[in-house]
Symmetry: C4
Subunit: 314 residues, 4 copies
């Protein structure tokens, strides 16, 4: 069986971290060259708290700057500013006027009374409406970005079929209540040559590599037949070869009306031996199937007899 390069690299001077982290990211950095820092991508991908914090910071700094410009022009040019005055009070008055202009509230009890303040407030009003146009796009971009929320079992397991065939299994469920359609799974095995640190990738054929609907849970199964690159390997070998099982999922999301993707991997210390998954769904009295997301991770030991059978075959 020819090896394949999934694009993660083959020849390395030393051992790398896991190829794919549990959040789907890769352990890769960029250096030199015309590296593009994409502002939009960053603003879309950062978490909500950072985004809101950044938004507040941006508004504060921008209005602070405009406030100082108004101060520099002199508050006499902003008729309506209340007495008594002082440095701090003047700054606050200028800041409030700035925000009223920026948000286009424009009460008008304070107003630009000179060409200088007239010009600056005109510019600020334009900047303000364009800023909110940008914010509208960013908020929509953040909300409407489709993403799969696939819940993976914490461990993969080496189990066995009724006929004694050993198999690699893991289990997934949809954290959201929407329906994924035509969900496809692709599983790669990464093995590292202990001598050279070179990496080798093989596809692991699956018992079933796609399902029509995904309302419940799905146990993905690779049979460890003599053709499998995992055939004949024990737990120690998994560690020696620094085995990593890399998973790529793709499905159509009914709500976003777009394809969504998910990635994850199991390293050798996240693979349990001689276990099987406990069923993660049941039927309620009303005839409705219930998925228990906590149950997704629950495994139980195989019976002695089955493990024996397993040992003989594996």
């Amino acid at each position: 069986m020819a090896t394949l390069d999934p694009g993660i690299g083959e020849k390395f001077s030393r051992r790398t971290k896991r190829a794919i982290n549990h959040d789907g990211s890769f352990n890769v950095r960029r250096r030199g060259g015309p590296h593009r820092y994409d502002l939009y991508q960053s603003l879309i991908q950062m978490d909500w708290w950072s985004f809101i914090g950044l938004l507040i910071l941006f508004f504060s700094v921008l209005n602070g700057v405009f406030a100082f410009v108004y101060l520099g022009l002199g508050l006499n040019d902003l008729p309506g500013v209340a007495a008594p005055r002082g440095w701090w009070q003047d700054f606050l008055s200028a800041l409030f006027f700035s925000i009223q202009t920026f948000t286009s509230v424009g009460y008008g009890h304070v107003y630009p009374g000179s060409n200088g303040t007239g010009l600056v407030s005109s510019v600020e009003a334009l900047v303000g409406v364009l800023t909110f146009a940008l914010a509208t796009g960013l908020l929509y971009g953040r909300f409407s970005r489709p993403s799969a929320r696939i819940h993976f079992s914490q461990t993969a397991i080496i189990s066995r079929r009724a006929d004694g065939t050993p198999c690699l299994q893991f289990r997934i469920a949809n954290q959201r209540s929407n329906i994924l359609i035509d969900l496809q799974a692709r599983v790669l095995l990464k093995t590292v040559d202990p001598a050279t640190s070179n990496q080798k990738y093989d596809f692991l054929p699956l018992e079933r590599d796609s399902i029509s609907f995904f309302p419940l849970s799905w146990t993905v199964v690779h049979d460890i037949t003599p053709d499998s690159p995992l055939y004949g390997l024990g737990p120690e070998d998994y560690e020696v070869f620094d085995i990593e099982v890399i998973i790529q999922l793709k499905g159509y999301d009914d709500t976003f009306a777009q394809d969504v993707h998910a990635r994850n991997s199991y390293t050798h210390d996240e693979i349990e031996w001689h276990r099987r998954f406990v069923r993660a769904y049941e039927v309620g009295e009303d005839g409705i199937a219930v998925v228990d997301l906590d149950q997704l991770h629950v495994t139980e030991a195989l019976t002695e007899e089955l493990v024996m059978k397993n040992e003989e075959v594996s």
Copy 2:
């Protein structure tokens, strides 16, 4: 023929409700785990009356809260509020000022006259414009979400071909006046083992599984040949095996410029025997084809002779 798991589950402790409801939803609940409640998905998918109601509620509560904050700071800090005053009148004045700030109207006959009200009204103005930025995104998200409006015949039928071959048929039409392109159909049969309540799924091959355009109606046909899992089964068997015919449709929508999907199913009591569909379109005097959506459901009895032939074969 190997059974297949479309992802709806196979082993159940008891009989489940139908797999797919007529609105395309599944009879599944989620429990435990890090279940994600997605605000955006909910706001996008709820019906328009609920959405508008929620919007009004949100505006009312938010402006009510701000009104109380202004009341707490004292209406003396909002110069311009009209006399005579009283609790209710004060609340209304504060509420109107709040809305004028929130929507950035800012007439200015009432204005923030202190640092306290200046700060609160600045915050409210920012919250206001960002709220409308969010509302813009949500309204667009709701509008632009592609969805197929496929009209299914109320029943599927067991009919027969001219040569006596029995067949399962149902009929669909597009409720919208747009054109769906390359519409594909996939039909699954669910049978339940009466003894164990386990479910079994088979694909039902179709006479034609896709059409290039979908301006009229489409009768989807599965021939009940000896290869069909329905071969030799009568109406009682359909009930014993709790038969459900599950339909998945996919096509390209010309208006939204995106793929759209639709789902439906027919249970054994939604299947009529020995019927055929009456034609649902005709040509007007102007040479334009007319689809009659009411006619979509109309079936008529097969002739005695054909049913006989049918009985012999089936």
Copy 3:
């Protein structure tokens, strides 16, 4: 060769108009049933002048209604309205105040001076900002809707190859200066049975059914070999069988980053015999290829000799 149903219908009581109009629409009406009128689809698809007209009408009516409500409450409740007054002047004052509220300009020289006008203006301000939120979505939806602007030659032609093989050809070019990628063509032949008015559809295999890039023009060619449903037919037969050549195009648009589709058809009276296309592009002195969209339709007669050869074969 089995006939196929592209979804346009087969059995008709009388002759229909052409299946597909030059703008890609179908000659189909809907009747009865739960026909969905989709406001968003209509607003997205109507031409720009209708859309802008509708927008102006909507703004005028809505502000007119609000103006009458203010008039009903009495202009004494809107302090700042200028004297002298009269019915028409009052209406204009109320209308201007309404528009200032609706657009959230809110100068404030006129302001709501009672609970009644305070409430109505609050509602109008909210309606206003939400209306512009909607308008934002609609404008974006109209702009960002991908659509191919494929220019088709006015006629299809029956030409011949150097070896005398007759062929059906038509030619397309991209009206836009963007690039379409992986453009695919699918051509169907509709023939009508003169006796029964039933319609029959066949795919016409193409010399080449896709191109990688589409910067210039593309001549789509179907060879009329003995396998072709057009083999042996002359111009009179084309008319008797009411022949229509139906074209479906699909490609990836580099600007919209989405697939775009186009449709067209040629009826028997839009097919020219014994012609060939004149080349529609040339290379300028600067080495840049120039497509001449006017040249796209230009055909010239085949030489006598070739037509002869043609006649023998066809």
Copy 4:
């Protein structure tokens, strides 16, 4: 091997410039016909500085026009305009009032005091909010337009494998820190007939035409076996036949949740002979792979021995 027309044209009267420029554009112009100039496409595709400049120009001109309209109506109709007055000061006052109306700030110290200014300011306020609705859509359209930022090595190289097989190689890396999934490459060879200037295209089969992930760099390789259209050609032949290697890339972008495309080409003078690429990534001490974008272009000479071997084979 049959030649193919990728849609770039085959028969030309004289030599053309390269088919594809380094920015992915084609050397094609349009002339005549109903050529569509798409405003949205232009506004989406122009660079940011041009876009912002155009925006400022548009705002300035529009507000300038409205300012002159107010001047024409007479500033006495705009109560609140400050004294002393003069032509320039009047223009500025009208301009500031216009901008305050256009952005819906509406301080109100200047306000429309007649039916004429009331009407014009109403129209301007509506135009203003709709303009910002449009700007919102344009800004979002610009930001959310997916585009691959693939960094290509400056030159392609003719290298050799360990067994002496010569091969054509080029190398790419992702300039962005997002992950491209299922990246596919397609490579075409353009050769020009020196006598007729006709162009001929062949696909160059690749050692590997897709990778699952693209976090690092990817060396695309075409083996120059006896089947290859490049077999037996030396550097002079490359020039005589005006060889151009055309590259088309397609992958799924995780951030934009859409397919992205990239194009490039290497002409004969951008192909280096007897070189090999130096590795462009390494593993840091923390086990994280580091891609060096500057290193992407670095090649080194093959050993004498290998070139010899190469010469014999090629």
